[in-house]
Amino acid sequence: MNTAWDVSLLFRRYLTQLLRNPVWVIVGFSTPILYLALFTPLLRHLAGSGGLPTGNVLDLFLPGILSLLAFASGIGPGFSTIFELKAGVIERFRVTPASRFAILIGPILASMLMMLVFDAVVVAVGAGFGFSVHWAGLAVLAVLAGLLMVTVAAWSIATALVTKEISGFAAIANGLNLPVLLLAGVLLPISLGPAWMHVLAHVNPLYYLVQASRVLAGGTLSGTAVWQAFAVLVPLCALVLTWATRVLRTAVA
């Protein structure tokens, strides 16, 4: 049995499930637009004051939204894993000869495709409001965002398999949400905070994506932040995928 076959089957299945869920589609599309619509007017007044650089705030803020989307898209599969665990879907797949890695990565890749679609929407809308588009930079950013999304998704799926209950999983996911977002400088730059925040930010994978995203969105492809992001996210992604596949193999689900 070949893994690519299993991946393609499970990828298509999950994508179909997502698209047939109208609530998910509406919320999925509206959230990034809402971020743009509600935050941009606020930031516009901050520009030039405080710690924020002057210039087009969207150029600063939009890469952060893309990073945020990568993180949020990774948490979603954890929630559906809990649901599928309760519905017996995971067990049904685990008893087939399908590759365990495929059972894990199929849904992740489907979610990633949706994330890229949302990213495109955000960029298109942002461009309409004056965001300067640098295609090459955005392409590299998409790769990095994909890496982070896969990492977070694999982590959330494995955590869901271990906790088994929505209450336990939601507590962990929500508990991590705020510190991870704040310590990444998504909405407000870390440079506004004290030194200990800088230190903590450096153990936060999302921080590296956010840093790289600002450089890349500006059109610079080879900044230090970009190399740092790859150096952190590639091994981390591999590590988390290995762990999550292991959990899926042995999960007492």
Binding site: Q17, G88, E91, V95, P97
Partner: protein, 381 residues
């Protein structure tokens, strides 16, 4: 390789869980055989140990902070039979099933399924078995047919191979009419039949069904039984768990009765019932005359009474020959001045087998037949 006459074969299969894990699930785990713990029976269905569909929920607490859910199960299931695993909720049925289907690592012992070692060749085993869990697991947002097609393709078959098979199975399990509708619109019975069809897509040698009829109305249950029999006629070995006595009785060629992780009896339903010799007689006594206390010594003193169990106002006993025993029983009770309200005789059921082996009734907490439960309590006392 021999033609694997035994499709499933296990030797001394065991599984334990860390106590803290199992503790969360099985607060009721206790030591000692059931007969020695009468208090626990009195709690009947409120006992947390009896809750939940999961086989890991109940078990024995052993040394080293672990709880043994399955304690030495050795079985042989022959090709083409319907083999039943009967026991109360939490007896270890599901845990055993999950080990045999590669979902749960084997604790110790060996298991061979469809000619392959479950621990060392899980992939080969998976290719040859079908498994329908209590939860089912069909995608609600997909149609029945889409579910079947995906399932077949996960076993490596092409769309062209899978499509006719989906049509065939839909016909076989009476799903054709609504195969094109989303699963979320299905009734309980329809969904169950789809679950079974999913398990059959790749023509497995053996189909595992975990509590296939739980939660179905009587009509759907009978209908499902017909379908399971039809599968057997087409050569599929069916291994099912159930806590329904009638289901085990009418459906299974052979069965195993499990309690607290161990096999307590094994054989054909007929042979098992014959172990409980003769006939079962239930005597209801007239209320308010110390009936039970007076009747028990009198009845127990009769040489032809093999076994006896009593509860409030009711005595259940086993005799070799009901026809000759009945008049004598009435005579001795009458002579003792004990009033009889009603008396009935029946052939032993599988519940009598279970009661005899474990000192408890499987019907315990069933609600519609509460007498059996209190009866068991008295036996234990």
């Amino acid at each position: 390789m021999t033609a694997v006459e035994n499709v499933i074969s296990t030797r001394d299969l065991r599984k334990s869980f860390p106590a803290k894990d199992a503790g969360r699930k099985s607060s009721g785990a206790r030591n000692g055989p059931a007969q020695k713990d009468p208090e626990r029976k009195g709690r009947g269905q409120k006992d947390p140990e009896r809750k939940g569909p999961d086989g890991q929920k109940e078990s024995r607490r052993s040394g080293g902070g672990r709880v043994e859910a399955v304690r030495g199960v050795s079985i042989d299931v022959r090709r083409g039979e319907v083999f039943g695993f009967l026991g109360p909720n939490g007896a270890g049925k599901t845990t055993t099933l999950r080990m045999l289907t590669t979902l749960l690592p084997i604790g110790s012992g060996t298991a061979t399924v469809a000619g392959f070692d479950v621990a060392r060749q899980p992939k080969q085993v998976r290719q040859r078995i079908g498994y329908v869990s209590q939860l089912g697991g069909a995608d609600e947002l997909a149609t029945g047919r889409e579910n079947l097609i995906l399932q077949g393709r996960l076993y490596g078959a092409s769309l062209a191979e899978v499509a006719p098979r989906a049509t065939e199975l839909a016909g076989l399990l009476d799903l054709s009419e609504f195969a094109g509708r989303r699963v979320s619109t299905y009734s309980g019975g329809q969904r169950r039949r789809l679950d079974i069809a999913l398990g059959m897509m790749h023509q497995p040698q053996v189909l595992f069904l975990d509590e296939p009829t739980t939660g179905l109305d009587p009509q759907s249950r009978a209908n499902l039984w017909d379908h399971i029999r039809a599968l057997r006629e087409r050569g599929t070995t069916v291994f099912l768990t159930t806590h329904y006595l009638d289901e085990a009785d009418v459906l299974c060629d052979r069965l195993m009765i499990m309690d607290h992780g161990q096999i307590v009896a094994q054989g054909t339903p007929r042979a098992l019932k014959q172990q409980v010799a003769g006939d079962a007689i239930v005597i209801s006594l007239r209320p308010g005359e110390h009936g039970t206390e007076n009747a028990v010594p009198v009845l127990a003193g009769q040489p032809y009474v093999r076994e006896l169990a009593a509860s409030d106002g009711q005595v259940r006993l086993y005799v070799d020959d009901g026809g000759t025993a009945l008049p004598q029983l009435i005579r001795v009770l009458d002579a003792g001045g004990i009033g009889i309200r009603s008396i009935s005789m029946s052939e032993p059921t599988l519940d009598d087998v279970f009661l005899r082996q474990t000192g408890r009734s499987l019907r315990e907490g069933a609600g519609d037949d509460g007498t059996a439960g209190s009866e068991a309590k008295e036996v234990a006392a």
